[in-house]
Subunit: 262 residues, 2 copies
């Protein structure tokens, strides 16, 4: 009698930048329940704003944590990008079928993509040709409601698992507005808005009279077009920006070829 | 009698990721001597591989160091990107005319651009519409010879000061081959090569029997085209890649608009 062919489950690697204990990563694990074998490798402490940092000057630690039977969870002493590298080389001994990062507590639209550990982890996976998605909810609170985020995260993960071939380095930056699910108008494919922070360092003096500075800044959206992630989120859409690690400015390349001579 | 109009010197902000005491930053200060007023704000310790990390969880320190009369030098406890932000908000109280970063001890071509603190500092300046350039010499040695690098750095800084209007967010990634000046064939405008690292974590045990991991990796150039920075450097050209912080993958955006429906 022919044996039923055993279905091979996809391996889903999950990481984040808020740390392995953040509610957002728990929400992401729940969101993809049943879609594959879930392995979590995430930082042992908050790593927001770490961008694409890697750890060169000191070694990394990796610890397996207690977890439900259907999930493996590891905490790592490094950055989100370190987590992805360690997951592939040391934990999985190979590439997962997908790498998802988040759900981040707070927005990663527009210029935030470049500072975000959540998105850098996703981008790192895409360098390795692992399809990847970063998810962020526009709510910094530790008690944020991830109900709508989980619905959209599952939907987009299912889409990517079925449509990996769209790009050799498929990587999506998904942001979810902080409103009830019924108010969300759907998904909008967007470009990254041009926005920046107007820095204002908060200067203080320590008890010994020496100055120190806290980084603070005010977000400024300088992009008034309507196909941006900032516009979509303001209008209660889930924004999806496909991102890439080729930073070449091709337009300027052409100009320089005509002007910067030897 | 009419007074001679006083020429306003351009302000040249210099930073790096190897730290304020690195020979490479000294070489960059020397390279631009006489082109403007030089202000250095650089990390107080090596910050290689810090990517676009910013410091959120703790405050920053800034100290003015002793320096020759024509240069101001500050050391900062943060990342290269923090240095640029602090320089603009706290040191200069405004934007410099140009921000240059380096000269990095080691290559920042291809995928290195995304891990590099040197290039992230330059990119941060370009977000603020400050024309910027990152310089790297393909020699990790502390005793690297910056003679040729200084000649090309000066030439490219002069070009950018005269041609700021080429792009609102002009940012260049310049790499210099580690050969004598007479062997350099000139400047080549390039795209970022697709390359990556094949990670191999070095697993060790501490004196207490607990595992730890050192990040190591082997560089793999997967891009065989000839208009890349890797090709140019291998053929003894100085590579110039214009870079940008808009990570949108526009090609994939178009595909997703047709496939990822609500």
């Amino acid at each position: 009698m022919a044996k039923a062919k055993k279905k091979v489950e996809p391996i889903i690697l999950i990481t984040n930048d808020d740390g392995v204990t953040a509610p957002g990563i728990k929400a992401l694990v729940e969101a993809v329940k049943g879609l594959g074998k879930v392995v979590v490798v995430a930082p042992d402490k908050p790593q927001s704003g770490m961008g694409h940092a890697i750890t060169i000057g000191h070694p990394l630690r990796l610890s397996r944590l207690n977890s439900p039977e259907d999930v493996e969870i590891y905490s790592c002493s490094g950055t989100p990008v370190d987590c992805v590298k360690l997951a592939v080389d040391v934990v999985l001994h190979g590439k997962p079928d997908i790498c998802i990062s988040g759900i981040n507590h707070g927005a990663n639209h527009s210029i935030n993509v470049i500072y975000s550990g959540t998105m850098s982890a996703a981008l790192e996976a895409s360098i390795e040709s692992i399809p990847s998605i970063g998810f962020s909810l526009l709510d910094y609170s530790i008690e944020a409601d991830f109900t709508a985020s989980k619905i959209y995260a599952r939907k987009i993960v299912e889409f990517v698992l079925k449509n990996k071939s769209l790009d050799k380095h498929l990587c999506l930056n998904v942001n979810i507005p902080a409103v009830e699910e019924k108010l969300i108008k759907g998904i909008k494919i967007c470009k990254q808005a041009y926005a920046k922070y107007e820095e204002k360092f908060d200067e203080r003096k320590d008890p010994h009279g020496r100055r120190y500075y806290w980084l603070t800044g005010e977000f400024q959206n300088l992009d008034k077009t309507k196909d941006t992630d900032v516009w979509a989120l303001k209008n209660n859409f889930v924004s999806v920006v496909p991102v890439q690690f080729d930073l070449t400015n091709y337009l300027l390349k052409t100009k320089l070829e005509k002007t910067l001579k030897n």
